[in-house]
Amino acid sequence: MSCQYHQHLLLPLLLSLLTAGVSSVEVQRPRGVSLSNRQFYEEGKPFTCLDNSATIPFDRVNDDYCDCKDGSDEPGTAACPNGSFYCTNAGFRSSFIPSSRINDGICDCCDTTDEYNSGAACQNTCRELGRKEMESLEKMAEIAKEGYRLKQLLIQEAKRGLEEKKKKLQDIQVTKKDLEDKVEALRTVKETAEQPEKEAKERHLKAWEGKFRFRNWCIFFFSLSVSVAELLSHSELNPDSDDSFTEAEAQVIILIYSKLKITDYEIIVCFMLDLLFVCRNLEKEISFDFGPNSEFAYLYSQCYELTTSEYIYRLCPFNRVSQKPKYGGSETNLGTWGKWAGPEDNIYSVMKYEHGTGCWQGPNRSTTVKLTCGKETVVTSTSEPSRCEYLMEFISPAICQEPSSLESYFHEHQEL
């Protein structure tokens, strides 16, 4: 494996250097000095350390003894503990390596210049690396371009979706008003008509309270005579929200509700409550942070899976991450949606899911999801770098950046 230093150069700069490397002629300068620092090393003239700590005769530059505190007199030897060596790497990207890597028997610069006296058999791999890098850059650029195009579609879609939702919310609010009036009217009727049944009803209600949320009961009403299987598909009806929704639980719910006697009043109350619920959800979704242009909105209520040798991992963005053993066993919650957690300049590049199932003697499980640009939306890897702290790599077009800078860069490259 190579151990390139300072690899994180900006792409445009990188490409221009690549071009320069190929076209320019090697300029005479002391070993290990970069082009930009060439001016400070004038053959035959006393050399002043770059930190001005001392001035020494020029023959002490690269004489394998450290004279400058900043190591600048020994750019081409390992004599200074803090020096750095410039690899020209013609055909690839130039870089600096710590001078301790000069002549240590390990090839660091692809142009082999760091191992000029160690006997290490280094091959010049710059051209090959340059070619590969270019290929991967092209590929990345292609992906970025396509990803960015898709992102625009996502943004438009999200905009449309948002407007629809806002409109729906308005409609519902109107309907709600209507219903409230009706409820008021029916209540009086009901109270007089059903006085005898009231007490029994309240008993029932008490029994369900706490265990089942009232709204679930209502929703269920509107889909009377559902099967257990159908019911199971409504995970929001799960009475104890954290665990999985089992068949047994579904059967209990059906059993309870089938024994109820329902009045118009109750139906309407329920309907109203359901609307309230829809209303709340819509409001939540509208106000959710789906990125600067809502480009991440399409992930809402979706789930993505990755199967490894042992587990099936499931990422439901803005909801939760879970892990299930491949060959049976119960699901483990690896965290529920927490926040965007990228660095300040790119906050949408990382999602954080927190407060998952607790670990023995340890913290609650949590998952960091790193987003990278791609054409598809897919989970590419999961790992557990620290116990109960999971890391997931997730590809999505929504994170793609405008590839404008790359564009120009490639035009240049194609002229090579």
Binding site: C3, S100, R101, D104, I106, W360, S383, P385, R387
Partner: protein, 948 residues
């Protein structure tokens, strides 16, 4: 994820963050300890039968008789070369042989003649040769006094606590018929045996007349014979849910030692306690019984993973040592008082006011075999002990670098990225480690097929960077008929057997596991052969080994270890428990040597150990915790190990359990960088803590600590060479070098590396300063960072910041360093040296330079450079200490820094060929530091540098 492990731990170890003391026996819960400790000092029932004395050129033998039960013991006394006295006591005729620990001594110790000085009916006086040393054998009661001139150095059985539980038949199961047979059998022996069997016969018949020719009255009253009463725990013992069947019955041995004039005793590791041992009157004795103690507690005498039954006694005049060669469970009581000496000694000694330490050793089985090392200087005791059990193995240079470990690096990708992380942050390291999760289902010698699918590729990647790896190989073997190692061990009958003769099985990481019988040489040979490259698939020459859980750890066994009635051939596990880990490491080290055809030095880390373990590699202090007190205790724990020969010691940097604060982590790196074995390790459940995860500031602090370690590698390597050659410890308590300065006797927070570097790491949270004691009233000490000079024999307050690691170089020393720190030690092989010459008040200094290839046994073939560097009369010279040795190096001397110097007018270098040249220099008048610029001579050459 290892839910099974977690569940298992939760079940068997409990869910609390502290040792569960209830899992481990107190002396009261260990039947033999309780029995023996109940004996109080007083008149000993043992009497020496002087008429049985035989003195040959090499040894004295003498019978002892217990007047209570008439059982006779055989005492053997040897004068060994190098001022050591060996005292061996066994039953004269045991029912069956008693275990004598093999393989620990490097050879049968060579003897020196003893001579009889005088003899009367009360005793015998023997000359020990040198320095008017004598042994007085007193007859009634039996005791031994070792004297020098009029001074008693040590007395044995002076408190009458010699006890030897003779093997016996179990009463309730023995038939009269057996006794008939027994009688017949015994009668074939010589006459004096009769008294032995009489004690047995007396059990059946009080009226029997037993002639005893050596008894003064020639007879005894039967009612005086101690009817050996059967006590609880003699023939069976239950602890928690485990029952120990004791088919051999009681078999304990015990002996007391008195150390007049001694107030400080050290050693008997492994305990998480202060360097100076405490008296045990008000609690349990120090226990030696190799145990896997989950989350051990500090400052108590509980047993830990290893046991070295060696104690050092020290006062300003003399250092002595006691090596109690017994591998069974052992307890050591220490008391300090001024008890009245015996009559004879009163006469000799005069006063009885001298301070005195009394020590008592109690072992469950085996014999008494004790080596009394008479010093007189600390370094003499180290040589004496080394002459018995060998010296520290000479480790590969690279293993003195930094080790990065974690339970666990998850997969090859993880290893690769951690490796890259070190380069990215420019922190050197030499070894990355893999814990148990790297295996295929805890089957050692295998790799997880998904996570470590191509181990050779991974190892090659490390090799390309001149780095290495350690993978764990534990001695518990998964019982699985699809596992080659298990099948082979089972079919060869190499497993330890349970008391009923079947293969012993216990629970450990893999679930049900067998435990190979490493006490068998054929088993060890086979095990060693498993490390061959064609046997251990995926291994390469840069893969080394770590033996964990070799106490042995048995999750469902008594005290988390093996049942004592398990069988190693004819011997019970009880007899040899403390040597199991020693044998595991022995066999593993042998494997690593063999795989290279005997060329390469091995590196094997072990958790369990015994006397002699120093010969096989490194030891660490086990599963510590990320707490400040654990950082502090790492110093006395490693110092104690060093005192008993095990120099290659370290503690998990950062602490194994729990997560360290950033400050603690940094301080631990700073401390660990100056301890012999320098490895960071962390528990599976803890957050990641690679050095760069705590912000750039802390990364820089850790980098600097690790770099300091690497600059000093030449010095460390030299210290290990010395340790290997002479047995002197690498990491030393100050009293070892300043034995006459009582201020050094109880220091737990500072230490020496060799004799020239004094380290007082910062181990207090939020410290603003530390007070270091600089020893030696004639010494001067130089701060290695500022070069400031300080006088010795003072407590020096040193203000500290987060970057401070207070280290001092002794004036009068020369320390070679390599200041060009690279990404691994191997990368620094050919780099030049800087010599740090610290002048003493006589403006003199001495040091050494040792260079070899760093990894093979070729140094045994004289392939090394060993030079003496000395500075006197303004001349620094390099002299060849090994003129016959042949080795060449590319390394040269790039710089010489003279501390405490004055400014010369010129400096001349005279090379081996007589050629002279001027050397440029710089002089810093404020600190009196003279720096010679690039003298440039080869490190292996003769040269002199003259200051004018």
């Amino acid at each position: 994820m290892a839910p099974v492990v977690v569940l298992w731990l939760a079940m068997c170890l409990g869910g609390t963050w502290a040792v569960d003391k209830g899992n481990f026996k107190t002396c009261d819960q260990s039947a033999f300890c309780k029995r023996q400790r109940a004996l109080k000092p007083g008149e000993s029932p043992y009497r020496a039968l002087l008429e049985t004395m035989e003195l040959t050129n090499t040894r004295l033998t003498l019978q002892l008789i217990n007047d209570n039960n008439k059982v006779r013991l055989l005492l053997e006394l040897y004068r060994l070369q190098g001022n050591i006295t060996r005292v061996k006591i066994n039953e004269l005729k045991p029912l069956k042989p008693r275990y004598e620990v093999p393989d620990v001594l490097i050879r049968e110790p060579p003897t020196e003649p003893l001579s009889l000085l005088s003899q009367d009916e009360n005793g015998v006086v023997l000359s020990l040769g040198a320095e008017s040393q004598r042994v007085i054998v007193s007859a009634r009661p039996f005791r031994l006094d070792i004297m020098e001139g009029r001074e008693v150095l040590m007395s044995l059985n002076s408190r009458g606590l010699l006890a030897f539980e003779h093997l016996r038949m179990r009463k309730d199961t023995t038939s009269p018929l057996f006794f008939l047979f027994f009688f017949f059998f015994q009668s074939t022996f010589s006459l004096w045996i009769i008294s032995v069997f009489c004690s047995f016969l007396s059990i059946v018949s009080d009226s029997l007349f037993c002639p005893s020719p050596y008894h003064p009255s020639f007879s005894y009253k039967a009612e005086n014979v101690d009817e050996e009463k059967v006590e609880d725990g003699m023939w069976e013992e239950t602890f928690k849910s485990h029952t120990d069947s004791k088919p051999n019955g009681p078999s304990a041995v015990s002996l007391d030692f008195s150390l007049p004039g001694v107030e400080h005793v050290y050693g008997i590791p492994e305990h998480a306690d202060t360097l100076r041992l405490k008296t045990t009157d008000n609690g349990d004795p120090y226990r030696l019984y190799n145990l896997d103690v989950f989350q051990y507690e500090l400052y108590n005498p509980m047993a830990l993973y290893g046991a070295v039954p060696v104690m050092l006694a020290h006062n300003t005049q003399r250092t002595t040592g006691i090596f109690w060669l017994n591998a069974a469970e052992t307890w050591v009581d220490i008391s300090s008082n001024t008890t009245v000496f015996g009559k004879m000694l009163d006469y000799v000694q005069g006063s009885s006011e001298t301070p005195q330490t009394d020590v008592r050793w109690i072992s469950e089985s085996g014999i008494i075999d004790v080596f009394i090392m008479l010093g007189p200087k600390p370094k003499d005791v180290f040589s004496q002990y080394a002459s018995l059990t060998g010296t520290q193995s000479f480790p590969p240079l690279t293993s003195l670098g930094y080790h990065q470990c974690r339970w666990n690096y998850n997969d090859q990708e993880d290893v690769k990225s951690v490796d890259a992380g070190f380069d990215e942050h420019d922190i050197p390291y030499d070894f990355i480690w893999l814990d148990i999760e790297h295996t295929d289902g805890k089957r050692y010698f295998t790799w997880d097929t998904h996570k470590f699918a191509t181990p050779k590729e991974m190892l090659q990647g490390l090799m390309d960077k001149k780095r290495k790896m350690v993978a764990i190989v534990d001695p518990h073997i998964k019982v699985d008929s699809n596992y080659k190692i298990h099948n082979e061990i089972r079919s060869r009958g190499f497993y330890i057997k349970n008391k009923d003769g079947g293969d012993y099985e216990g629970w450990c990481w893999p679930g049900s596991a067998g435990y190979p019988d490493f006490t068998r040489i054929d088993m060890r040979d086979w095990w060693a052969s498993m490390f061959a490259y064609d046997q251990y698939e995926g291994s390469m020459e840069n893969l080394y080994t770590w033996n964990d859980m070799n106490e042995p750890s048995v999750f469902n066994g008594p005290e988390v270890t093996m049942h004592k009635d398990a069988m190693h051939g004819a011997w019970e596990h009880r007899d040899l428990h403390n040597t199991y880990g020693f044998y595991v490491q022995m066999a593993t080290a042998e494997g690593l040597i063999k795989r290279s055809g005997g060329v390469e030095r091995p590196f094997v880390l072990t958790r369990a150990f015994f006397a002699g373990s120093q010969r096989y590699g490194a030891v660490w202090t086990g599963d510590n915790a990320a707490e400040w007190d654990h950082l502090k205790i790492s110093i006395p724990m490693c110092l104690s190990l060093g005192l008993v020969g095990i120099s290659f010691c370290g503690a998990d940097v950062g602490g194994f359990f729990k997560s360290p604060s950033t400050e603690l982590l940094v301080r631990w790196y700073q401390t660990g960088a100056y301890q012999p074995f320098f490895r960071a390790h962390a528990h599976l459940d803890t957050p990641r803590r690679e050095p760069w995860l705590f912000g750039p500031e802390n990364t820089a602090l850790i980098r600097e600590a690790v770099r300091q370690r690497y600059t000093l590698l030449p010095y460390w390597y030299q210290q290990f060479y010395q340790a290997h050659r002479t047995g002197q410890p690498v990491m030393r308590p100050l009293w070892v070098e300043y034995p006459q300065d009582p201020a050094t006797f109880t220091l737990d927070d500072e230490f020496l590396i060799g004799k020239d570097l004094l380290v007082h790491p910062v181990t207090e949270e939020g410290a603003r300063g530390v007070t270091a004691y600089l020893p030696g009233k004639d010494e001067v000490w130089f701060d290695v960072h500022t070069f400031q000079r300080h006088n010795g024999a003072q407590n020096l307050y040193i203000p500290v910041t987060m970057s401070s690691i207070p280290v001092f170089q002794r004036g009068g020393s020369i320390i070679p360093r390599k200041l060009r720190v690279r990404r691994s030690s191997t990368c620094m092989e050919h780099d030049p040296y800087t010599l740090f010459v610290a002048l003493n008040s006589q403006r003199k200094a001495e040091g050494e330079l040792y260079i070899d290839d760093g990894h093979t046994f070729n140094y045994e073939k004289e392939e090394f450079i060993h030079r003496r560097l000395s500075f006197a009369n303004n001349i620094l010279s390099s002299l060849n200490l090994a003129p016959d040795a042949k080795f060449t190096t590319q390394s040269w001397i790039e710089r010489i820094v003279i501390l405490g110097a004055s400014k010369p007018s010129k400096i001349t270098l005279k090379a081996a060929d007589g050629q002279e040249s001027q050397v440029e220099f710089e002089f810093d008048a404020s600190m009196s530091v003279l720096t010679l610029r690039k003298p440039g001579m080869n490190s292996g050459a003769d040269w002199t540098v003259t200051l004018q």
